[in-house]
């Protein structure tokens, strides 16, 4: 199945402060009670954004100056914690195309890439500068350049890193691997035969 080739994500950005932002914060567990991913965007960062009485707490995502942002900028180890795909699903469904962070939780990174949600890592200095620039000028255009491994913000250029396998997959439009995995089913059956089955009864 041919997928979109993702060379870059271009749009406005929103800085989300903090390191080690875990998947429970990205999407609280009560939003996992669902049999489809529809509507998950509304739960994104819910408890960070709203108090128990439902009153907004002044989170950047609710700041009208960042409305319509498509690039989320955050700290190190973003998406650590649980394997819930609901986390990148909620980010994508809230309209984001890319996350720029200092580093990523590994399961989150894989889940995001499989959805075509671009995750690139930048240095702590670059992240600080980007966040600062976005606070000064929320209308700043951000370009997450997958091909060139850069994040550009106005006239500033920051080096970005992304594992080559993810970069390749995004650029060539096979970030969802299912199609290619299905092509290998003949080989899979042979390998399974050769190894025998763990847990056989």
């Amino acid at each position: 199945m041919a997928l979109e080739q993702i060379r870059e994500v271009r749009g406005h950005g929103v800085p989300v402060p903090g390191d080690d932002i875990d998947t429970d914060r990205i999407i609280p567990a009560r939003y996992l009670k669902c049999v489809t991913f529809d509507g998950l965007g509304e739960g994104l960062f819910y408890d960070e954004r709203f108090g128990e009485d439902g009153a907004p707490k002044g989170h950047p995502l609710d700041d009208p100056r960042y409305a319509g942002a498509t690039v989320l900028v955050s700290g190190s180890n973003f998406g650590c914690g649980s394997s819930r795909e609901h986390a990148p699903q909620s980010i994508a469904r809230a309209g984001f195309g890319a996350v720029v962070a200092e580093s990523f939780g590994e399961i989150f990174f894989g889940n995001a890439t499989t959805l075509g949600l671009v995750c690139v890592a930048v240095s702590p200095e670059a992240r600080r500068a980007l966040s600062e620039a976005l606070r000064r000028d929320p209308a700043l255009e951000i370009v997450v350049d997958v091909d060139g491994k850069q994040v550009r913000a106005g006239d500033r250029v920051f080096e970005a890193s992304i594992p080559e396998s993810a970069r390749e997959a995004l650029l060539a439009g096979y970030w969802d691997p299912l199609g290619e995995l299905l092509e290998g089913v003949g080989d899979v059956k042979a390998a399974a035969e050769r190894l025998g089955r763990a847990g056989a009864v």
């Binding site: 402060p17 903090g18 390191d19 080690d20 875990d22 429970d24 914060r25 609280p28 567990a29 009560r30 996992l32 009670k33 669902c34 049999v35 489809t36 991913f37 408890d47 108090g51 190190s76 180890n77 650590c80 914690g81 649980s82 394997s83 819930r84 795909e85 580093s103 939780g105 590994e106 399961i107 894989g110 889940n111 499989t114 702590p124 594992p163 080559e164 396998s165 993810a166 390749e168 997959a169 060539a172 096979y174 969802d176 691997p177 299912l178 290619e180 995995l181 299905l182 290998g184 089913v185 080989d187 899979v188 390998a191 399974a192 190894l195 089955r197 763990a198 847990g199 056989a200 009864v201």
Partner: protein, 476 residues
């Protein structure tokens, strides 16, 4: 002789089916475990694309995350939870997947069920839509958590697109002091290497401290590999592994058993194999460890004080300030003496029979402090039955704990077991993230089962060695 290899490398190479266009490996998954929360969308994706489950005999299901632990009468009060359980039943029936349902006597947290049934075996690749799949590494399996799209991939192709990890050997040698448990060992490792220290690595736990551990203790350690950033962690299989598995329902029998043991033994890391990194820790240095903050790396010895913002490097100050504010702790004050509202005993980290036995030794004849809500949730129906057979449920109940049915419960609070407001919970679970235990302002302090017993009895974060009169020095 061929190049010496680690268990990880051997298992990876054996299961590599082919190389994908982007350089990743199509990796055969021997065993797939599913539960009610992360699988329904995956089955939906299969239906949307008209795909079948390729090898249904390799997938095993149970319910754990949202199942109530105070009642088993269906339909459950929570209509969404009820729907998710019914959806899993329907999907398993439709695709011929073995399901350890609530009435089977075999239900439990998915990471308890695999080992109990002997489904978890050395040298296997095991995947599950849950990050604590690393637990199964205790058996020398390469086991890791996956997202829902990957659950779909395994259902449809019995494989995943994966990149090979580096391997870090974490050696813990010497002895643990009395009152120091497997939970303290892994909290100490995470505290030492950091919550992102394991990114890009599989952790191999070695050295005589791990070699002496029971399988249940090894599971506690491997379980929290992910909290250290490592997607999987394992212990090389040995006599303890084989003794645990022998006679389990899905373990090989007769001649096949002997062949399996010989094969499993050959998969252990070879002497002299190359590791990408090696870390050595002395067992004697590990104290009873508790978390004070909002990630599992924010941990200290029970005898230490909570950090101050000024006392940490500049790069950590924002994080420490945020954690102190959420936890409502006084900077620089001892963690000991912090008031506890709830004691939670259970989870895939510490909800096993040996955890209950060890805590019961100390709870016998003692009472939970007035004002502390204490709940004990066996990790599986087998754990519950065995504890009840030994009279351990009575010890917990006599002390003032509620004795519940099996499930994940207040570890992630997707069922009715939740903190209320800013309650502080002394917990045997694995994550102290903000809001993790069901209340956005709830607070979690992670610790070993015996430390939770001590906190329950005293109503505050306590040194179990003092509360229960345990001599501190290791016996030579």
């Amino acid at each position: 002789m061929s190049q010496p290899k680690s268990l990880y490398q051997k298992v990876w190479q054996e299961h590599a089916v082919r190389t994908l266009r982007n350089g990743q490996t199509q990796l055969l998954i021997d065993t797939h475990l599913i539960h009610e929360v992360t699988s329904p969308q995956a089955f939906g994706m299969l239906r949307d694309r008209g795909l079948e489950v390729l090898m249904p005999e390799r997938t095993f299901a149970t319910v754990d995350h949202i199942v109530p632990t105070h009642t088993r009468v269906e339909p459950f009060e929570d209509a969404l939870a009820d729907e998710m359980i019914r959806e899993l039943r329907r999907n398993c029936a439709e695709h011929g997947i073995r399901f350890f349902d609530l009435d089977s006597g075999n239900q439990g947290i998915v990471h308890m069920v695999g080992p109990e049934q002997g489904i978890t075996q050395p040298g296997a690749t095991i995947a599950c839509g849950d990050s604590h799949t690393s637990t199964h590494g205790a058996f020398g399996a390469i086991a890791f958590g996956i997202g829902t799209s990957q659950v779909r991939d395994v259902l449809a192709t019995q494989t995943l697109a994966m990149s090979e990890l580096k391997v870090r050997r974490i050696k813990v040698t010497g002895r643990l002091h009395p009152g120091v448990y497997a939970k303290d060992v892994i909290l100490h490792i995470i505290r030492t290497l950091g919550v992102k220290g394991g990114l890009g690595y599989a952790y191999e736990y070695g050295g005589n401290v791990f070699e002496r551990m029971s399988m249940e203790e090894r599971m506690t350690v491997c379980n929290m590999s992910i909290e250290g950033g490592a997607r999987c962690g394992y212990v090389n299989p040995d006599a303890a592994t084989f003794a645990y598995l022998k006679g389990r329902p899905f373990a090989p029998e007769g001649a096949a058993w002997d062949e399996a043991v010989s094969r499993w033994s050959s998969l252990a890391s070879d002497p002299g194999c190359r590791y990408d990194d090696v870390v050595s820790i002395r067992g004697e240095e590990i104290p009873p460890t508790v978390t004070w903050g909002i990630n599992p790396g924010q941990a200290i010895s029970i005898e230490q004080n909570v950090p101050t913002v000024d006392g940490v490097p500049e790069s950590e100050r924002d994080g420490v300030a945020e954690a102190l504010a959420h936890m409502k702790l006084t900077p620089g004050a001892p963690i000991k003496g912090t008031k506890v509202d709830v004691a939670f005993f259970g989870s895939c980290t510490n909800g096993r029979v040996s955890d209950f036995i060890e805590a019961a030794r100390y709870l016998e004849g003692r009472r939970v402090h007035p004002g502390v809500k204490a709940i004990a949730v066996p990790g599986s129906q087998h754990v519950k039955a065995e504890c009840e057979q030994r009279g351990i449920d009575k010890v917990f109940e006599a002390a003032g704990f509620e004795w519940r049915d099996a499930g994940c419960s207040m570890c992630l609070a997707m069922n009715p077991d939740k903190l209320v407001g800013d309650q502080l919970c002394a917990s045997t679970s694995n994550r102290n993230f903000k809001g993790r235990q069901g209340s956005p302002t709830g607070r979690t302090v992670l610790m070993s089962p015996v430390m939770v017993a001590a906190a329950a009895v005293t109503g505050e974060v306590s040194d179990a060695r003092e509360v229960f009169g345990v001599a501190r020095e290791a016996v030579a």
